[in-house]
Amino acid sequence: MINSMLKMAGVALVLSTAGTANAQQYPVDTVTLITHSSPGGGSDVFLRELSGYLAPILGVNVVVENVRGGSGAAAMADMAQAPADGSRFYATTPTFIYTSLLSNPEYTYEDLEPLVNFFIDPEVIYTATDSPYQTLDDVIDAARAGRGVWGAANPASLERQALEQLKAVTGVEAGIVSHEGGGDLMINVLNGTLDIGVGEVQELQGQLEAGEIRLLATFSDARLDLFPDLPTVQELGYDVVVRKFRGLAGPQGIPDDVVAAWEAAVQQVLASPEYRAVYEPNNLRAAFIPHDEYVEFIDNFATETATFLRETGVIE
């Protein structure tokens, strides 16, 4: 009796491994993905959706854990001290670079090793529907003639950095006003205080559908699938491209087999029709970046950001 139960258990075990593991065996059974956002926040939702599709491909359990505190400082400390065996990764956005540079936490992005990238969220320029600006050129011309007032959601953010770069390449006079989040920014665009605002398409969806705002350009490197008529800032002749990345980072010294497993799995999950049906309507743009390139990408991103923060007088 006991013997037959053991046999059945053995059969079940074999079946389950055969059904999940793809090519190689991943070194650990459970992978924990941590995020600094609270349950229900942007990165948290992204991870929880992703984990369901990723688990069968990697052949492991994928668990999401919220390590909050200090805008990512706690998560970076957690990750820097985690074992480098592929069991624990941190879902990163530009926030972890900003926190590292602004807050001087004990552990920074330099103590971590970027793994791979999943997505690039497009950032777009928008204005109120009843504003006189029909194109980005109108906005730039107006700023050149007098003085522009442009808005970003947060003080130390990629959106502000994008506007500062736009101001620098055009050489116009513009005040760049930061807010306490996208909602505050939206009000000041709608009531005409600001000429333009910058935000992610996702968070603008409500006002776009209500016809209250008009998109003028996107900071992405190519036109967006959902808005094929929307020009990129670059093709309008202003050389600014912004990449708001969403990827993973782990402790220093991630083993090669783990890296290889993730590179294969991420390409597979991004191509899977079921997952595409989830992320494409949300305006997430799949942008797989392999490990070696991604390490370099993050490094460049951090250098650019540090330069921007130094030039705007935020850090010394």
Binding site: G70, S71, S103, V149, G175, V177, S178, V314
Partner: protein
Amino acid sequence: MDTILISAGYLLDYQIVLAALIGVTWGIIGGALPGISPSITMALLLPFTYTMEPTAAIVLLAATYVGAEYGGSVPAILIRTPGTNAAAATVLDGYEMNKQGKAGLALGISLYSGVLGSLFGLTMLVLLSKPLAAVALSFTPPAYFALGILGLSVIATLSGDSLIKGMIAAVLGLMVATIGTDPVTGGTRFTMGSSDLLGGIAPVMVMVGLFAMSELLAQASDRGPSERVKSRPRIEFPSLSLAKRLLRPQSIGGVIGTFEGVMPGAGGTIASFMSYNEARRWSKYPDEFGKGSPEGVAAPETANNAVAETALVPLLSFGIPGSNSTAILLGGFLIHGIVPGPMLFQRSGEIVYGLYAGLFTAAIGLLFIGMALLPLCIWIVNRPRAYLNAFIFALILSGIYSIHNSLFDLSIMLAAGVVGFLMRMLKFPFLPTVLGLVLGYLVESSFRRSLVISGDDYAIFLNDRISLALLCVSALFILGSIGKRIWDRIRHNEQKTFSEGTDG
């Protein structure tokens, strides 16, 4: 009309109804305990609202305020000790009625006057709050700056006898508000390398420390014997002819309560004393006042409950807390990332309508819960203070710790408690500190944002019409208050210091 229909729908939401009833119950008990003001009663609940659904959380806190305003009259009538400052006027005739063996009738009048005051105040709240939402979108950064200044100008009227002490207390709050992230550059300020301080100091920790913790410390240092309730009264309601006679003082209380509630900085204590005086002036039996007049109970008890509702008008419409209790309620909003003010109705209308429904439930629930809870209130009032305080201390510690499971939060709260205790000893008012803390960031960020918009041109504050109007009102507030102080000084009048300490 729409407002009433939409709000009525929320009466079917069991979460809101439950929150309202629990709030009233908790409020009555807290209000009945001498020394535990409505704001402390609310502050004790504040940490536990973190995990609640936002509307239910706000309803819970607002209903607590309503319950506490009635609860304060129980010890006022029975042991001549007002449970809340706003119940102090109730002592005058309520305790006299008790001596004449009419304690049950006094409690009954207090209870149903409170219910009437709540319903009247709620009606005024609904009527007065809505029109302001219409201009919400035209609030630009300079207008928000002026709004913050208007809020801070209230300090002039509520600083008690010393304007200097009020200013010092306010600056303390403003200083704490600068800790954290710079609103324009995004750099960090005064965080001393601690990642716990990156987000700034949450007003909740400071409020719980200042109000609740410091009260425990003050009570621990006071070893006098406390009064005990010896009688076992049962609530009686007045006869029809007496009820008709009480309509006049209740109307007076309702109107004065509304007026004082809407004015930031006035509060329930002034309202109840003013309506007591006015009720005596207009009464057919002015001689009975002070000798156990039922009118002398009805007027102040209607007034302080009307204040509990109408004090929400400046909070909901402008985000300005005019009293300690509404400051705590503001803390409840902020916990859930909701900022009361011009945009509240557009962004979180469901919370406003849910709140109206919850307040209605609370007013009706007050009648029944107030009757049922009287024996429990008497029992609790008779417990030795030390046991009660130990219980409250445990409640504060566990509440604050449970927010983020953080010992750092606890130490902030305890530090605020010690500061609050010292402020009590030195007779510094708390409310300016809390106002400085909750308005400091708004004022600073809107000011600097406006200057970025205008290119460092200060005229932007005068060119924006809303900003100009609000700044003028603030100036009138400050000048009026200073003028009154000078006038009082000249006439050698003793000022009454209602807003000192733990005023509701």
